[in-house]
């Protein structure tokens, strides 16, 4: 049987560095180590290009190289005959390798030295096992394909709608993959930001926290539509909060939720959730263990994310299928609430909403809550439909593909975490009730004129 790269890709995890041999135009052989070799597909790999050196001269001149790769658990080793194709200095493969290399550099104390200039892409012409090595038996391993099957069945069996799907996915990661720390984020395309809608394994859920597109491993995975896996802790891809630079009278105070994360994360895996060719979100997992996620885990989570993208899209569409945009209010909203009024402030600057002194949420979810409270005050009702929100001119939601359901989940979960007096309750497909147990006073803070 001819080996393809899929069969030996575990050798490319840079645990044991690969060596590369090339030959100069005058016939002189050259040998050195490769910082990182990256699996691209069954026929291609990429080598990190960091320094201008003899290897690079030889590769550009003769376009041929021989790679020696060793699998770190068994010692099985292979010689890979490579034909140089091209160098990519930007784009998905480059960004993916850059993140991988940052982890390797940090682990090996080479952070100041390693800088990725390019991803040198090679076609793998031949793979030959090195004779004279008796590989150790593979240690018993988790079976990502079996875990994927169980997780996939759990998602397929989930009939509870958008929010239940989020929970089913994170439950499945926990139960079937042994992944105990995970985030689900949805993309807000208009603002180029991702926001956390569900999480597992953190003291603070971080629901509503945001990551800019292109920022850190999650932001890069979404921006480039590519899975990124890091095997060793690296500060380059952590979510370090920069000081908020908002200023001015109308600037909302501390409208930030911290992104949850393990302080000692070694392994990180971010997989884009894609539907219809568009990135809709990111599934993110992390672990304090080094090299926790392998190529097979990346494959499994990518397949799971594809299924989840489709399932979430269908759940979203189902919520919009209500017959009447304005639900009939069976009775006037009960107004038996008493006690100190709850002050709800909305900053027009970014639609951030504060309950008394506490930040709740911003963006579209903030605008929705504000609109619901406003309608409740004006019209004396507390039942609403997804459809009327979608048609509401003050919210300016696009007709389709706007993640409305994700925003309602986000709002509902933030309220459940942060408020005793406001709550969102599902009343049917595409319908819900805003439950209010205290008098509410609304205060709008206009946009800063100085801005």
């Amino acid at each position: 049987m001819t080996l393809d790269l899929d069969a030996v890709r575990d050798c490319l995890d840079s645990t044991i560095p690969c060596a590369i041999a090339t030959v100069a135009a005058d016939g002189t052989p050259n040998v050195t180590y490769v910082s990182h070799a990256e699996y691209v597909d069954a026929e291609h790999l990429a080598l990190s290009f960091q320094f201008f050196n003899k290897t690079r001269d030889n590769v550009l001149a003769r376009r041929e190289a021989l790679l020696y790769a060793t699998e770190s658990t068994t010692g099985a080793s292979y010689r890979l005959t490579l034909d140089y194709l091209r160098t990519e200095s930007e784009g998905p493969l480059f960004e993916r390798m850059k993140a991988r290399l940052a982890g390797i550099a940090s682990f090996t104390g080479m952070t100041a030295v390693f800088r990725l200039r390019g991803a040198d892409v090679y076609r793998v012409r031949a793979i030959e096992p090195v004779a004279g090595i008796t590989p150790l038996p593979k240690p018993p391993q988790r079976k990502p394909l079996a875990a994927l099957r169980a997780a996939s069945c759990a998602i397929a069996a989930c009939g509870g709608g958008f929010e239940a799907l989020l929970d089913a996915a994170l439950d499945a990661l926990d139960r079937h993959f042994g992944i105990h720390h995970a985030l689900l984020l949805m993309l807000e395309p208009a603002q180029s930001r991702l926001y956390v809608v569900a999480s597992r394994g953190y003291a603070d859920s971080g629901i509503g926290s945001e990551i800019a597109l292109g920022d850190g491993i999650i932001g890069v995975a979404a921006a480039q539509n590519i899975a990124i896996r890091i095997n060793y802790a690296t500060s380059d891809y952590r979510y370090v909060r920069a000081a908020t630079e908002l200023s001015g009278l109308a600037a909302p105070p501390r409208a930030e939720i911290a992104v949850p994360g393990l302080p000692d994360a070694e392994s990180q895996l971010a997989v884009p959730i894609v539907h219809g060719g568009e990135v809709r979100g990111v599934l993110y997992a992390e672990s304090p263990q080094q090299r926790r996620f392998g190529y097979d885990d990346e494959d499994a989570l990518s397949a799971l994310a594809a299924q989840l993208g489709l399932a979430l899209e269908q759940a979203q569409a189902a919520q919009d299928e209500t017959d009447d945009p304005r639900p009939v209010q069976t009775a006037a909203a009960p107004r038996d609430e008493s006690g100190t009024p709850l002050l709800v402030r909305r900053y027009a600057e970014d639609d951030s909403v504060f309950l008394d002194e506490d930040y709740l949420i911003k963006g579209v979810a903030g605008a929705i809550l504000w609109r619901l409270l406003d309608l409740r005050q004006r019209e004396g009702r507390d039942e609403f439909s997804n459809r009327e929100l979608r048609l509401d001119p003050t919210l300016r939601l696009p007709d389709v593909a706007d993640n409305l359901e994700a925003r309602l989940v986000l709002l509902s979960r933030r309220l459940a975490e942060r408020s005793d007096s406001l709550r969102i309750e599902k009343t049917g497909r595409g319908r819900f009730r805003l439950c209010v147990s205290r008098p509410v006073r609304l205060a709008e803070i206009a946009r800063s004129a100085a801005a």
Binding site: I16, A19, I20, A21, T22, V23, G27, T28, P29, N30, V31, T32, Y33, S35, Q50, F51, F52, N53, K54, R62, E64, A65, L66, Y68, T70, S72, T73, T74, G75, S77, R79, T81, T108, G109, M110, V113, F114, V130, A131, G132, I133, T134, P135, L136
Partner: protein, 163 residues
């Protein structure tokens, strides 16, 4: 590359004989590279030559290519520090020294001890390196040029020569 033999410094000789990861490369008549691990290295007393010990089957392609032309490149690295030297020169197949088996055992033991701190166990190192004396081969290598290969912008610079 100059064909004069290089004399290694005492520090280079010491580095080369320590517990190192070693690769050797040669090439065939069509200038296609060959590549293998070496297991151990011993610098000659005059520091102008290195006796390399290799696993005969693992290194078969390199041994085959060295035979007619003698061209060889060797890279030595210390995994914990990344200090790396590449030597280029000529090699010839020679008879195994009488103590080859003992030397390989000592080299593999030292390497195993050093690499354990990086999380690699003895069974793995044994699978990759351990070889019975009758499975070994030896190359007498005369380096002509020494290159600094520690990762960084200086990597690839020739040592001991003015530009």
């Amino acid at each position: 590359m100059g064909e004069h033999a290089a004399t290694l410094s005492a520090a280079q000789a010491e580095f080369i004989q320590g517990p190192r990861s070693i690769f050797v490369a040669s090439r065939d008549a069509a200038r296609r590279p060959s590549l293998a691990r070496a297991i151990g290295a011993r610098v000659t007393d005059d520091r102008r030559g290195i006796l390399l010990l290799l696993h005969r089957d693992q290194a078969a392609p390199v041994l085959r290519d060295v035979e007619p032309r003698g061209e060889l490149a060797v890279v030595f690295t210390s995994p914990p520090t990344h200090q790396t030297l590449q030597l280029k020169g000529r090699a010839t197949r020679v008879a195994l020294p009488a103590d080859a088996g003992a030397r390989v055992r000592a080299q593999v033991d030292a390497f195993t001890e050093m690499i354990a701190a990086l999380g690699f166990g003895a069974p793995l190192i044994d699978a990759m390196f351990r070889a019975a004396p009758d499975a070994l081969a030896a190359l007498a290598f005369a380096p002509a040029a020494v290159f600094e290969q520690t990762p960084g912008p200086q990597a690839g610079q020739r040592i001991g020569e003015r530009p």
